[in-house]
C-alpha cells in the first residue's frame, strides 16, 4: 500500500479493466454452461424454484468500490466451492465421459479461480465472507434429480454473481479514478473485515 503512487493507480485501473473483462467473459461462459447443462439433461429453461444459495451484505452505495468488490468476491468464492462440490459429486455418481458440458464446466471452474485471484488485488485488504444457505448434503434425499436440480441452482448462482461482479467491475475504473483517496483512507482506517460476518 505504502508504495502505491500515480503509477500504482494507473496500474490498478489497468488491472481493474482486465479483471472486468475477465468477469464479463466468465459471466458469458457461465450462461453457456447453464445452457449446455440444460440441453444435455433436457431440462426446461425455467429457473429452479428457490432462493439464492449465497447471501451477502447489501451493496449499499455507501460502500467503497473495494468493499463492493470484496463482498462480491466472497460470493464468488462460495460459488467456486459449490461448483467444486458439484463436480466432485457429479463425477462420483456418473461416468466421467467427455462432453461439451464437462469441458465448459472445467473452463468455468478454472476461470473463476483466475477471477478470484485477479480481484484479490482490487479489494485493498478488505475481507468479507458470504453465507451459503443450503448445502449439497441436504439434497441427498432428492436422489439423482436432487443433484441435477442442485447443479442448476449452483449454475444459476454462478450466472448471477458473475453478472453482478462484471457489472460492478465495469463501472469501477471511472469511480476509482475519482475516489482513490477514499479507498485509501477506508483501507487504512477500516482495515480488514470491517463488515465481516
Amino acid at each position: 500500500m505504502t508504495g502505491r503512487g500515480a503509477n500504482g493507480r494507473r496500474g490498478l485501473r489497468g488491472h481493474a479493466g482486465k479483471t472486468s473483462a475477465l468477469a464479463r467473459l466468465l459471466h458469458k461462459e457461465c450462461i453457456e454452461l447453464l445452457e449446455a447443462y440444460r440441453n444435455s439433461e433436457s431440462l426446461p429453461s425455467s429457473p429452479v424454484a428457490g432462493d439464492y444459495l449465497v447471501s451477502i451484505p447489501p451493496l449499499v452505495p455507501q460502500l467503497s468500490d473495494a468493499e463492493k468488490i470484496s463482498i462480491l468476491r466472497a460470493a464468488l468464492k462460495e460459488c467456486l466451492r459449490l461448483l467444486e462440490d458439484v463436480i466432485t459429486r457429479e463425477d462420483a455418481d456418473f461416468s466421467d465421459e467427455d462432453s461439451e458440458y464437462r469441458r465448459k464446466r472445467k473452463t468455468v471452474r478454472d476461470r473463476l479461480g483466475h477471477l478470484l485471484a485477479s480481484t484479490e488485488q482490487l479489494v485493498d485488504g478488505h475481507k468479507f465472507e458470504a453465507e451459503v444457505k443450503e448445502e449439497l448434503d441436504g439434497q441427498a434425499a432428492g436422489g439423482s434429480f436432487g443433484l441435477k436440480k442442485w447443479i442448476v441452482r449452483v449454475l444459476q448462482e454462478l450466472v448471477h454473481w458473475t453478472g453482478q461482479t462484471s457489472d460492478t467491475l465495469h463501472s469501477l475504473p471511472a469511480e476509482m479514478e475519482k475516489t482513490p483517496k477514499t479507498m485509501s483512507r477506508r483501507t487504512r482506517k477500516g482495515g480488514a473485515g470491517k463488515i465481516r460476518k
Partner: protein, 936 residues
C-alpha cells in the same frame, strides 16, 4: 339360577344363528385389517382376520375417492396365525397420494358389510408442503411402462410434467398430485432419463429413471501368460446404458471382486494362481449373468512377445536371428515360433520350433533386400494361441552377383543389327547395377573385345564387317561382381520381301501364334516382334519359348494398337538362330490416321477420273481393305463406289452433267474408314468444242445471214433500187424546150423554195410558182429541227436514230434536188400535189441534186409560238406521231384530199403508192420499217 343362565345362552345362540342364515348380516365382517406398504416395490400388503375365504377388496385414492381397485379374491388363512393376507401392486407409487382400503367377506351372492376404511397417507398430505416426485432413481429395463407422479408444492400451480424434455398428458390424483404414464421407455443417456414437474414459473421437482439392460457379457476365457497365474477375459456384450456408478455391472471372479472391470476400464480379471475352474458373475440392478470356464494351465499358454530381437549374422542369402524371453519358465517350454519377413515385394512366413526357442537361421533370403522381421511363439503342445508379436526388427542382406541377362540380337539389315537385353529386376540384379559389359567375337577372330556400358543402356549396335557370324556376350555388373555372360550369335537376316509373310490378325489386342515344331530347336524358340518397317533403334521385343511349346501369345502390354508388327519365330540351336516363320499384323486395327494421298481428278468429257495413292504404312493403322468414294452433296455424302480391292486406286465416275462436284475418297480398315480426302472439280466444255460452239458457229451463222441478205438483195435488186434509188424521171415540159443538151445547170438560190399551191381555181396566168418570202424561209430554217408540218421528217429522224447516221447521209443523198430544176421554170404546168420529200428540211441546206418541192402545211401566218408548243407536245408525248394525227392537226390538210403526203412522181399526177387515206402516211416509212425489222 343355573337354569336362567343356560336359557339366556341358548337364546343368544339362537339369535346369532338366525342372523347368520338370514341376509347380509349373516356373514361376519373381516376385521383387524392392516395395510403394509412397500414403497420401492409399489406394493400394498393387506392382512385381516375372517372366517370367510372369499373377499371383495376396494382401494381408493383417498382425496378424490377414485376407485383404484375393486376385486373379489379368494384368500386362504395362514396356517399358524390364521390371518389372511393379500398384496396389491399399485401402478403408481404409493407416495403419490393417500390410499384407502376396505374389505368385505363374500359367500356367493352373500356379502358382509365393508370393513372400516384403512388409509395409508401419501406425500400430498398438508403436513408435507414441498414438491415431490415419485418414483426416484428407479432402474427399469428398456421397454417397460412406468407411472410418475408429481406433488406440487403448496401455493404453487401445476403446469406440466416433462419426460425427456417432452410434455406428457397428466392425470390428477389429488389436490396436489398429478401423474403421467410412460410406455415402452427407451434406453437412458449417461445420467438417466429426467422427468420434470413444472409450475408456470419454475421447475419444481423431478425424478430420474434409469432405463437399461441387464448384463450381456459372454465368452469367459482364462489363460496364463507366465505359466503360473490366470488372466480371465470376456466380451462385454450389449451396453447396459446404466452409467450411474451404483448401477454399473459388478463383476466377481470366483467370488473375488474384479476391481478394474468394475471401474469399467477393462473386461478382464486376473488371479495369481491357476484354479482350473472359473466363474464370473456379472450383476447389475436389472439382472445377473454367470459365465464359467474350465481348463488346464498347459492348455492355456499364451506366450508373451519375444524381447531384444537382433540379427547376429547377415549374408546375401541368409541371416541368423536371436531374441530373449521375459519369463524364465519359457526356457523349458516346447514352443513353435512364427517369423514374418516383410521385404519389398517379398513377404513370407516361416515357422520354427524348439524348446525355449530363442535363435533361428533365416534362409532363402534375397540379396540386397531390406527385411522387417517379427517373431511370435506359442506352446507347441496343446497349442492355444500365438503369443504376442515382437517389435519389428529390420535387416538388410548383402549383395550378390546379378543373374544372367536375357539377350537377343536383332538384325535390321544383312550386315547391321543390334543386341538387346532385358533389364534385370530388383530380384535378379542382387544389388544396384553399375553397368553392362558387351563382348563380341567372330568366327575368324577368336578374341573378345569387351565394351562397358552404363546401367541405363539396354542395347548395343552390331556391324558385320564380313559375311561370317559374330557372337555377342553381355554381362551385368553390380558391386558384387559380373553376372554370367549371355551369348547370342547373329541370325541370318531375312528381309520381308524374301519371305512369304503371312497376315496376322490380333485377338483382343494380342497375337496368338502357333507354328510347326522344328527338329533343330534344341534350345527352344524365340518369338520376336518389332514394328514393321522400323530401322535403327527399334522397340524390339522377344520371348524365349521352350522347345516343347508350339504356340505363344504376345501379351497386349507390349503391343500398341494401330501399329503393324513383324512377328518372327526363330529356332534356337547350338549355332545362330534361324528364322522359322514370319507374320505381319496388327494387334488391334484402327481406322487409318491419314487418308489417301495424291488424290487427283480429271475430266474426260462427261466422265471424271479419280485417282489416288495409299497413305504411308504407319498411317494406315490396319490393313487397308478398300476405298469408298463419296459425292459430297450439301450436308450429306452419297456413296458413289465401294472399291473392295485395295490395289485399285482409281475410279471413273461416268455421265456427269456440267456442274461442280466434290468427291471424297476414304480408305477403310476392319475398324472403319478414315475421314477421307476431298477433291473438287467443275465440269466444263472442252476447248475445241467451246471454240466450235462459242466462235465458229456464230460466225458461220452471221456469214450465212450476210449471204442470204446479199442474195436477197440481189434478187430483189429492182425492188431495192425502186425503194432506195427510185428512178427520177426527167421533167417533161410541153412545148419546145430547146434547151441545150448539156446538163441542166440550174442553181437556184439555196434559200429559194417554191411553194406550190394547188387550187382548182388557180389562175395560171396570174399565179404560178410563188416565191416563198424570205421570212418563210427563215421561218422554216428556224424551225428546221422542229418541223411540225410533216411527219416524214420526223419519221426519218426517228429511223435515223434507229439505224444510225449513215441512213441520214443516205437520206440526204436520196433527196432529189429536182425542185431546183423546177425552181427555174416559172411556166411549168406541172401540178405538184404536195409531194412530200423524204428528206427533212435540213436537206435544203445541201442545195445540190434533185429535191422535191417542199410544201409546208403550216400557215405561214400562224404564229411561231404555236408550232413550238405543238412540237413540244409531240416530242413530249410520243416523239412519233402517225400521219393521221398530222392530218387532223393540220387544218390545211383537209383540203389536200387523202393523197397528201404520199410520194408522187413529179412527172405524174399518180401517187406512187396506193391511194388510201389511211395508208398514205405510211407510204415511205412503213416499208423501211418493215425492211429493218426483217419483213419483206
Amino acid at each position: 339360577m343355573q337354569g336362567w343362565v343356560i336359557l339366556a345362552l341358548l337364546l343368544s345362540l339362537g339369535v346369532l344363528h338366525s342372523r347368520g342364515q338370514n341376509g347380509p348380516s349373516e356373514l361376519a365382517v373381516p376385521h383387524s385389517l392392516t395395510l403394509q406398504p412397500d414403497l420401492p416395490a409399489q406394493t400394498l400388503s393387506l392382512t385381516w382376520q375372517s372366517d370367510s375365504s372369499l373377499f371383495d377388496i376396494e382401494i381408493f385414492h383417498t382425496e378424490l375417492m377414485n376407485v383404484v381397485l375393486n376385486e373379489t379374491v379368494a384368500v386362504t388363512a395362514g396356517p399358524v396365525t390364521g390371518q389372511r393376507g393379500w398384496t396389491w401392486r399399485s401402478p403408481s407409487p404409493l407416495e403419490c397420494t393417500s390410499h384407502s382400503v376396505q374389505i368385505r367377506a363374500r359367500n356367493q351372492q352373500s356379502v358382509s358389510q365393508w370393513s372400516p376404511l384403512q388409509t395409508i397417507p401419501g406425500s400430498d398430505i398438508p403436513e408435507k408442503s414441498e414438491s415431490y416426485m415419485y418414483p426416484q432413481d428407479k432402474v427399469v429395463p428398456v421397454g417397460s411402462n412406468m407411472t410418475f407422479c408429481c406433488i406440487v408444492k403448496e401455493k404453487y400451480n401445476f403446469k406440466e410434467i416433462m419426460y425427456k424434455g417432452q410434455t406428457m398428458n397428466a392425470t390428477r390424483l389429488s389436490r396436489r398430485a398429478y401423474a403421467i404414464t410412460v410406455t415402452n421407455q427407451p434406453a437412458s443417456d449417461n445420467t438417466g432419463t429426467n422427468v420434470v414437474c413444472c409450475s408456470p414459473m419454475f421447475t419444481l421437482t423431478g425424478a430420474v429413471v434409469f432405463v437399461g439392460y441387464p448384463p450381456g457379457d459372454e465368452g469367459l476365457v482364462c489363460e496364463t501368460r507366465d505359466l503360473a497365474s490366470a488372466e480371465c477375459s470376456w466380451k462385454k456384450g450389449r451396453d447396459t446404458h446404466l452409467r450411474r456408478k451404483i448401477n454399473r455391472t459388478n463383476y466377481t471372479l470366483n467370488g473375488r471382486d474384479c476391481l478394474e472391470a468394475n471401474e469399467g476400464k477393462t473386461w478382464m480379471c486376473n488371479w495369481k494362481v491357476w484354479e482350473e475352474n472359473w466363474t464370473l458373475v456379472a450383476r447389475n440392478p436389472l439382472g445377473t449373468v454367470r459365465l464359467t470356464d474350465s481348463a488346464q494351465l498347459a492348455d492355456r499358454v499364451h506366450l508373451l512377445a519375444p524381447a531384444n530381437v537382433t540379427a547376429v549374422e547377415v549374408e546375401a542369402w541368409n541371416a541368423t536371428l536371436k531374441w530373449s524371453w521375459p519369463v524364465a519358465a519359457y526356457k523349458k517350454l516346447e514352443m513353435i515360433c512364427q517369423l514374418k519377413l516383410i521385404g519389398h515385394e517379398l513377404s513370407s512366413t516361416r515357422n520354427y520350433s524348439g524348446t525355449g526357442l530363442s535363435s533361428v537361421m533365416l534362409e532363402d533370403l534375397w540379396p540386397d533386400v531390406d527385411y522387417t522381421v517379427t517373431v511370435r511363439c506359442g506352446s507347441k503342445h496343446a497349442f492355444w494361441k500365438s503369443g504376442d508379436e515382437s517389435a519389428p526388427y529390420s535387416i538388410h542382406t548383402k549383395m550378390d552377383r546379378p543373374d544372367a541377362l536375357d539377350v537377343w540380337l536383332w538384325m535390321d539389315s544383312s550386315n547391321t543389327g543390334r543386341v538387346f537385353w532385358k533389364p534385370l529386376s530388383e530380384r535378379e540384379s542382387h544389388g544396384a547395377l553399375v553397368g553392362y559389359k558387351v563382348s563380341q567375337s567372330s568366327a575368324e577372330e577368336d578374341m573378345w573385345t569387351p565394351v562397358s556400358l552404363p546401367p541405363e543402356r539396354l542395347n548395343y549396335p552390331i556391324i558385320l564387317n564380313n559375311s561370317s557370324d559374330i557372337t555377342v556376350a553381355v554381362a551385368a555388373q553390380n558391386p558384387a561382381g559380373l553376372s554370367q555372360p549371355s551369348a547370342v550369335t547373329t541370325p541370318a537376316y531375312r528381309a520381308d520381301s524374301q519371305l512369304s509373310v503371312s497376315e496376322l490378325l490380333g485377338t483382343h489386342g494380342t497375337f496368338e501364334l502357333s507354328w510347326q515344331p522344328n527338329a533343330n530347336a534344341s534350345r527352344g524358340y524365340v518369338v520376336e516382334w518389332v514394328p514393321t518397317g522400323c530401322r535403327g533403334l527399334c522397340p524390339v521385343n522377344w520371348e524365349k519359348v521352350p522347345e516343347s511349346d508350339r504356340s505363344f501369345t504376345v501379351k497386349p502390354d507390349s503391343l500398341e494398337g494401330g501399329v503393324r508388327y513383324t512377328v518372327s519365330v526363330y529356332v534356337l540351336s547350338a549355332g545362330a538362330a534361324s528364322l522359322l516363320q514370319r507374320w505381319q499384323g496388327y494387334s488391334q486395327e484402327m481406322i487409318p490416321a491419314q487418308s489417301v494421298v495424291e488424290l487427283s481428278v480429271n475430266q474426260t468429257g462427261s466422265d471424271v477420273l479419280l485417282s489416288w495413292k495409299a497413305s504411308a504404312m504407319e498411317h494406315q493403322r490396319g490393313f487397308i481393305r478398300g476405298y469408298t468414294i463419296y459425292l459430297a452433296n450439301a450436308a450429306r455424302l452419297d456413296l458413289v463406289a465401294n472399291i473392295s480391292d485395295p490395289e485399285v486406286r482409281s475410279y471413273r465416275v461416268k455421265g456427269l452433267p456440267l456442274s461442280s462436284y466434290k468427291f471424297i475418297v476414304k480408305a477403310y480398315t476392319s475398324a472403319g474408314e478414315d475421314m477421307g480426302l476431298t477433291v473438287a472439280i467443275k465440269m466444263e466444255i472442252e476447248t475445241a468444242e467451246m471454240l466450235f460452239v462459242g466462235i465458229l458457229v456464230p460466225l458461220a451463222a452471221m456469214f450465212c445471214c450476210l449471204i442470204l441478205i446479199s442474195i436477197c438483195c440481189y434478187k430483189k435488186r429492182e425492188w431495192v433500187k425502186k425503194a432506195f434509188y427510185p428512178e427520177i424521171p426527167g421533167p417533161k415540159v410541153p412545148g419546145d424546150w430547146s434547151s441545150p443538151q448539156g446538163p441542166l445547170d440550174v442553181k437556184p438560190s439555196p434559200h429559194s423554195l417554191v411553194h406550190i399551191v394547188e387550187s382548182p381555181e388557180w389562175d395560171f396566168s396570174k399565179k404560178g410558182l410563188v416565191p416563198v418570202p424570205e421570212e418563210e424561209e427563215e421561218f422554216e430554217n428556224d424551225n428546221i429541227e422542229v418541223d411540225t408540218d410533216s411527219d416524214e421528217p420526223a419519221l426519218l429522224r426517228y429511223y435515223n436514230h434507229v439505224v444510225g447516221d449513215g441512213s441520214h447521209s443516205n437520206h440526204v443523198s436520196d433527196s432529189s434536188g429536182s425542185s431546183t430544176a423546177s425552181g427555174g421554170s416559172t411556166q411549168t404546168e406541172v401540178t405538184y400535189t404536195g409531194i412530200q420529200s423524204p428528206s427533212s428540211s435540213q436537206g435544203v441546206c445541201d442545195g445540190g441534186g434533185y429535191r422535191p418541192q417542199m410544201q409546208s402545211a403550216a400557215d405561214p401566218a400562224e404564229p411561231q409560238g404555236e408550232f413550238e408548243a405543238d412540237f413540244q407536245d409531240d416530242s413530249l408525248n410520243t416523239g412519233y406521231k402517225p400521219q393521221c394525227s398530222w392530218q387532223l392537226d393540220s387544218p390545211e390538210a383537209e383540203n389536200l384530199s387523202g393523197s397528201l403526203g404520199s410520194p408522187t412522181s413529179v412527172t405524174s399526177s399518180q401517187f406512187l403508192l396506193p391511194e388510201s387515206s389511211e395508208e398514205k402516211p405510211q407510204s415511205s416509212n412503213t416499208w423501211f420499217h418493215s425492211f429493218l425489222s426483217g419483213k419483206s
